[in-house]
């Protein structure tokens, strides 16, 4: 057999899990920022902006994340830019998250009743004032549960970056397996760690949804 204790396996996996967490956080926050920017283009008044964002979303939702990772990793390499795996992973995941978050948030903005636009118009508010004081505050409340829910997808999405060589939890699992020849134990732990990361997120998304449904108010 080998001289890896269970603790050694777990310790190595947990160390690698830090990178999964870091990549998830970076992707989620970066995706949120880019997504917010795209959202304003999408619901803004510029026709060109709307078309661009629709196109963007179609592309990122219509192709596998894995292909996006490959393109970010190898594509930039074609231009002589030496892309480290972590950078390609972060860029691809940020752009991918942005596409989904924009769509989620657009739905939330459109879910705000038409009457809210009309009432604020009739009071003399301009488009930006309506957005800032009337529409977005309401959309934001609706947006919280699905946004938190989507963060689970981001965490799971990071697993794919192992394929371009970024050493996060999944990649570490493969490496530890190659050293220990105990795939079932190792991947069992890997799955358990993913679960510990994801479950609190999806659970809190559910709780938030229920809470916001019960109390429509903002106090």
């Amino acid at each position: 057999m080998n001289d890896f204790t269970t603790w050694d396996i777990l310790r190595n996996l947990l160390l690698a899990a830090r990178w999964t967490v870091l990549l998830s956080v970076v992707s989620f926050i970066g995706g949120g920022l880019v997504g917010a920017l795209l959202l304003f283009l999408r619901i803004g008044k510029s026709r060109l902006g709307q078309i661009f964002v629709r196109f963007y979303v179609e592309i990122f939702q219509g192709t596998p994340l894995l292909m996006q990772l490959f393109l970010a990793f190898f594509g930039l390499g074609l231009f002589g830019i030496d892309v480290p795996a972590w950078l390609a992973a972060a860029v691809a995941l940020i752009l991918w998250s942005a596409a989904f978050l924009t769509e989620i948030w657009r739905g939330c903005v459109e879910a705000v009743a038409r009457g809210q636009w009309e009432a604020s118009s009739s009071l003399g508010m301009g488009y930006l004032q309506q957005m800032r004081y009337v529409i977005l505050p309401q959309a934001l409340r609706v947006a919280v549960p699905p946004t938190v829910g989507f963060s689970v997808q981001v965490v799971k999405g990071t697993a794919l970056t192992s394929i371009i060589g970024f050493v996060e939890l999944s990649k570490a699992g493969t490496m530890v397996t190659n050293a220990t020849f105990e795939p079932f134990t190792v991947y069992g732990f890997v799955a358990l760690i993913y679960f510990c990361l994801c479950w609190p997120l999806s659970k809190s998304s559910q709780i938030l949804e229920r809470k916001l449904n019960v109390a429509h108010r903002n106090h």
Binding site: A113, G115, Q116, E118, A119, S120, S121, S122, L123, G124, M125, G126, Y127, Q129, Y133, V134, P137, Q138, R141, H216, R217, N218, H219
Partner: protein, 242 residues
């Protein structure tokens, strides 16, 4: 010069011509009731006057200023003409008081303290000064509609457009809203209201407009319109609603 001049206004939605040449002049202090069957274009007319819909032909002017569909003119118009909706449309994330304060602060740049003062005064005017800190979903329909009226009044409009403002209310809540409107009328506010409350129209309004298929079919003082309808359509309409 009339306060609101509506001249040969036409409005189409696609092939559907909803307003087919409307002419109404409203004098300052007049209270106009607009009656007619569902689909006759009553809401569309009010929405055109408030600039929520663009007109295809004709002209609308308020206090001498032409209604033009750019943001600057629309804003100027909306400072003069307030609108109350059937579905209240209060901002659900803000208290009653904040609902009344928001547009003053955002549109008119009124300082907060002053806006709050005005909000208290307007809520008092509709009998809801004790509900300043209540959220819309803590209020009854009648109270919500009164807050909506206070919110419009806080912008100090010279005319108010009311689109079936009691139609979404339980019968026992209708009167508290109508009482507020009646008081406004007595104070000399110019009002154009789409309504099904025939008794109210008879008591309070100076003129009644009967709309039928996108036209002003009959117009006149309530005694005349209600007691002496000239057209078969109006006779039938009044027969149905009585």
């Amino acid at each position: 010069m009339s306060l609101i001049e509506i001249t040969e206004v036409k409005k189409r939605f696609g092939d559907n011509e909803v307003l087919k040449g409307i002419n109404i002049d409203v004098e300052p202090g007049e209270v106009i009731a607009i009656i007619g069957r569902s689909g006759s274009g009553k809401s569309t007319l009010l929405r055109c006057i408030n600039g929520l819909e663009n007109i295809d032909e004709g002209s609308i002017s308020v206090a001498g200023a032409q209604l033009l569909p750019d943001e600057l003119h629309l804003k100027a118009l909306r400072l003069k003409v307030g609108m109350i909706f059937q579905s209240f449309n209060l901002f659900p994330h803000l208290t009653a008081g904040r609902n009344v304060m928001l547009s003053q602060m955002v549109v008119k740049k009124t300082p907060r303290a002053e806006a709050e003062e005005m909000a208290k005064k307007m809520l008092e005017r509709v009998g809801l000064s004790h509900k300043f800190d209540a959220y819309p979903d803590q209020l009854s329909g009648g109270q919500q509609q009164r807050v909506a009226i206070a919110r419009a009044l806080a912008m100090q409009p010279i005319a108010l457009l009311c689109d079936e403002i009691t139609s979404a209310l339980d019968p026992e809540l209708v009167n508290e809203v109508l009482a507020v409107v009646k008081e406004l009328a007595a104070e000399g506010m110019t009002l154009m209201m789409v309504t099904h409350e025939m008794r109210f129209a008879r008591e309070v309004c100076s003129r009644v407009v009967f709309m039928h298929q996108g036209r002003v079919h009959e117009i006149g003082p309530p005694e005349e319109v209600f007691s002496n309808p000239r057209t078969a359509e109006l006779q039938q309409f009044l027969g149905v609603t009585h």
